[in-house]
């Protein structure tokens, strides 16, 4: 169990860290896939099996594909030319990230470990799916409905924007700019 955790953690750390340094944006996207898969593994280890599958479904089946499509539609001219961030921004970002990371770690160390004891062990053994379904349909029904509406509206909006893009004759290529 703990070994699996270390394995997934390693994948997460390695792949997400690699995104920072890899210059090919498509590779970044596939590294992201590995990260997501590993995160879903972490979810399973944390006892959220439904969420893990949902993670794969939404992130890999949805968002990652969208990102890849975005990349493919926009990177045809300069496939491998992701500009490297300049020195100043690197320094500031390293500083900031170091600060934030230190902060988070400090907070975690300060946490009261007593309160973090896993109190749902017997539940984790089984699946959380029926409970999620039950809660979604009772206590969180409004949120559930609202997010459904929101999702539909967003998809329609995205389709509208994309349709706009299609209607326009492609003239924005270099000659004008």
């Amino acid at each position: 169990m703990i070994l699996l955790f270390y394995l997934f953690s390693f994948f997460i750390v390695a792949s997400s860290g690699a995104i920072l340094f890899v210059k090919n944006i498509v590779h970044c996207a596939f590294l992201l896939m590995i990260t997501m898969l590993s995160i879903s593994g972490i979810f399973i280890l944390a006892g959220a099996d439904f969420l893990a599958i949902a993670q794969i479904m939404i992130y890999i089946g949805g968002i990652l594909i969208l990102i890849l499509f975005g990349i493919m539609l926009t990177q045809r001219n300069n496939i491998n030319q992701v500009p490297i961030s300049n020195f100043r921004t690197s320094i500031t970002s390293i500083l900031i990230i170091g600060l934030v990371f230190t902060m988070l770690i400090t907070i975690i160390f300060k946490l009261d470990s007593e309160s973090l004891i896993n109190q749902r062990q017997e539940l984790i053994a089984s699946s959380s799916i029926s409970q999620i379904g039950f809660l979604l349909m009772t206590q969180n029904l409004i949120a559930f409905e609202l997010i459904g509406i929101l999702l539909m509206v967003a998809l329609m909006g995205a389709a509208m924007i994309a349709a706009q893009f299609q209607d326009k004759p492609i003239h924005a290529n270099s000659s004008h700019e």
Partner: protein
């Protein structure tokens, strides 16, 4: 079944969050920044799921994480549609380039 300590997950999430933040701050491509944002959201999700283990009766953490997932999907769909549109208009996705069109 030896239980994985909660703090391990938290460390992982903190790391993931920092990486996401780093990507958001340092990268210049909009799509990469989006990826960074997704990573940060995932870090949050890990925390939610893990804290949900300490919840005796409910699994509110998991529910919230589920909603976060859906919101992330919405955000990504809209954002990528916009990205495509931006690319069509300016023929670039580099923030520094786009900054020229600010005015």
């Amino acid at each position: 079944m030896n239980e994985i300590p909660t703090t391990y997950f938290l460390f992982l999430a903190a790391f993931l969050f920092s990486i996401g933040l780093a990507i958001v701050i340092s990268k210049k491509n909009i799509i990469l920044i989006l990826m960074g944002i997704e990573l940060m959201l995932n870090a949050g999700n890990i925390n939610l799921v893990v804290f949900s283990r300490s919840d005796t009766s409910m699994i509110q953490g998991q529910l919230l994480a589920l909603f976060v997932l859906i919101i992330a999907a919405i955000e990504a769909s809209i954002a990528l549609a916009l990205v495509v549109l931006i690319y069509k208009h300016f023929n670039t996705l580099e923030l520094d380039e786009l900054n020229k069109y600010k005015n």
